[in-house]
Amino acid sequence: MVRYVTRRLIQMVFLFLVFLTVTWFLLYILPGDSVALKYAGNPNIPPEAREVALERLGLDKPVLIQFRDYMFNFFQGDLGVSFNQYPRPVVDIIAERLPRTLVLFLAALVTYYWAGFLAGKYLAWRRGNRGEMLVTIGGVGLYSMFLPWFAFMMIWLFSVLLDWLPLSKFLDPEQWRDAPFRANQVFMRLFWVTLIASVALFASGFIARQTRSRRLGRTLRWGGGALAVGGFFFYWYGVDSGQVMRVYAGDIGFHMILPVLVLTLINFAGVMLLTRSSMLETLREDYILTARAKGLPERVVRDRHAARTALLPVATSLVLAVATVIDGGVITEAVFSWPGMGEILVSSVLSEDIPLAVGAFSFIGILALIGHFVVDILYGVLDPRIRVTEHG
């Protein structure tokens, strides 16, 4: 296992280097002089100042030197300076935006995988050809929905017509005018508190699964769950540091609902269809008959035997879906003006802010790499057959 993980890690680093190199050459070199022309070649800038600007941007050196410098700086955490938000280092912007993207992705990912898996499981269990076509067509329709259009329709429905949810953005500036906190401070607090609560929630569920006594399991599941959710609310209502931030954190959370909903709905159907067909195939296996013959309750046959094994192909799909999920995130962010990595990628590309674009794109690459890695490991954990054979 350790060897496998190390090998994957080394592979990842190598892949990232290739990726970064291609990106850099693509964006810095191919446009030719356009960077220099646009930012340092502005006729309104006096020639001396232009020289200085070119020098500061490092554009006067030979290409390979520029590349070497960029790579060198990159691994020292210096990704250059944004053209558009001039004095601001790219790293700063990314550090601010990355958690926002992560939160959006993770919230959507967890929701849609969970919901899709559940829906697929029940659909397969209730089998019968009745409605099969309807489910397939509905699922495929949702799956191939044109994301930006769908997002705007949802915004129109929930924000314009029903006026329940905010239109877009990350927070409501009106409310934050006199805020004693910076948005990022509140956001990170929200992030950690939610993370701890969810980890506690999953841990209690996981431990409950491992226990053999059913009563203890039930106590653990419900007790642990209540404790996690209760703790979450207690922090915001009972603890001083939470109380003062509650309104602002709530505002951010409120702004998150719609993007998460859109991402979830778009991706949900794919997981549902896949789970359904995988589960239908699993239900035909002999070990399901064995499980029934053992006199296990139907719920145990369904969840412990059928669904657990049907999860394997769904997890494989996750490996391939990482990139797609990120793509969906990029579009969603752009549509909702959600200040994350996707949004800066689109806006920096459109405004030719090259350092920021390279930075954003390389971090999206890192995100994809890590996602793959996690899913790969997860797959090994899920399937004991892989655990053994993959060592070679």
Binding site: R212, V300, R304
Partner: protein, 343 residues
């Protein structure tokens, strides 16, 4: 039908554990109704072992699954009963039936690889059955002690319980399946093709072990197989099925030495015998009938070399032929002589 209920007590005086009486089961399919089990009756006593033989698709597995009520969803029980210690299993609620499974009747499935869920350890899958069937629940210590005993019983290292199914060889897997079948101390084990996928040596070992275990624990075993040789080795009673019907039934010795139904006769003479008198193996012509539209009269008549006019129109009932032998054939008296005249 002349005698629906058969006095099939071979070893008289023993309590009948299982009595299948006039069982009729059909499958509803898109193409129509498949008559999979047609009026099958037999009974089995405590400690006895019985074999059910026939070609694939003759309904022997359907009978076996009916005993656990595990037949696919499209199966319908038309009539008949499955009495377990006098109680009709077909009448039980789903919940009651679940409690019955494994605790009273367990099963060794055909193709042991697929009988295991690939994602759980072998021990876990056995423990799961025990967890659901002992009331009050066994303690952890008791469970693991029992597990060790089970593995020793079937000739496996108890450490095997911590392995995954794919890490075991075919023979080990089959032994572990037997251990799983024994885990809840059932009174009857249904062994569906227990050794088909194994090589001959392992096959013999496992059959021998099953026989020993059966004698030690006083179990009843119902073997399901297409392999006459396997059945002959290990059973006391034998039932021969053809196209959903039981065509011959009796003590294994009697049926083997003097088959009285043409189908069993041909089936037996297709096995070359090493010890018995030299016979020319006879092959069985034709294919089993389509159960969507089974032939009228005796279902075997299209393939029977001795079929008469009566066979084509009238269905022969089970008739007692000897003290412990029954056959469903109009000409059962003549079968041995007619067999001699075969080319």
């Amino acid at each position: 039908m002349t005698s629906r209920r058969l006095p099939l007590e071979i070893s008289a005086g023993q309590a009948r554990l299982l009595e299948v009486d006039g069982l009729v089961m059909r499958y509803d399919t898109e193409a129509g109704e498949v008559s999979a089990v047609e009026n099958v009756s037999f009974s089995l006593g405590r400690g006895e072992s019985m074999g059910l033989v026939g070609e694939s698709g003759c309904g022997k597995t359907s009978v076996a699954l009916s005993l656990l009520r595990l037949a696919p969803e499209n199966a319908r029980y038309q009539s008949g009963s499955v009495l377990w210690e006098g109680m009709d299993l077909l009448e039980l609620s789903d919940q009651e039936m679940r409690e019955y499974r494994w605790a009273e009747i367990s099963m060794v499935f055909q193709g042991a690889m697929n009988a295991w869920n690939p994602v759980y350890r072998v021990g876990e899958q056995i423990r799961e059955a025990m967890d659901h069937h002992f009331d009050p629940p066994l303690s952890t210590v008791e469970t693991s002690r029992r597990m060790d005993r089970l593995f020793n019983l079937v000739g496996l290292d108890p450490a095997v319980q911590n392995r995954y199914p794919h890490e075991l060889s075919g023979g080990m897997r089959q032994r572990a399946v037997i251990a799983m079948a024994l885990s809840c101390e059932p009174k009857l084990i249904i062994a569906d093709e227990p050794t088909t996928a194994l090589d001959v040596i392992v096959q013999a070992q496992i059959l021998e072990e099953l026989k020993e275990i059966q004698e030690d624990l006083g179990l009843s075993i119902l073997y399901i197989s297409h392999d006459m040789a396997v059945i002959a080795q290990v059973t006391d009673i034998i039932g021969v099925m053809y196209a959903g019907k039981l065509v011959e039934f009796g003590s294994t010795r009697d049926v083997f030495h003097g088959p009285r139904h043409p189908y069993s006769y041909l089936l037996l003479s297709s096995i070359p015998s090493v010890t018995g008198p030299r016979r020319r193996p006879v092959s069985l012509e034709g294919t089993p009938p389509n159960l969507l539209a089974p032939p009228a009269g005796c279902r075997f008549h299209p393939r029977c070399p001795w079929a008469t006019e009566q066979c084509r129109t009238d269905e022969p009932p089970m008739m007692q032929i000897g003290p412990s032998q029954w056959a469903a054939c109009w000409n059962s008296e003549q079968v041995p002589e007619m067999g001699e005249q075969l080319p």
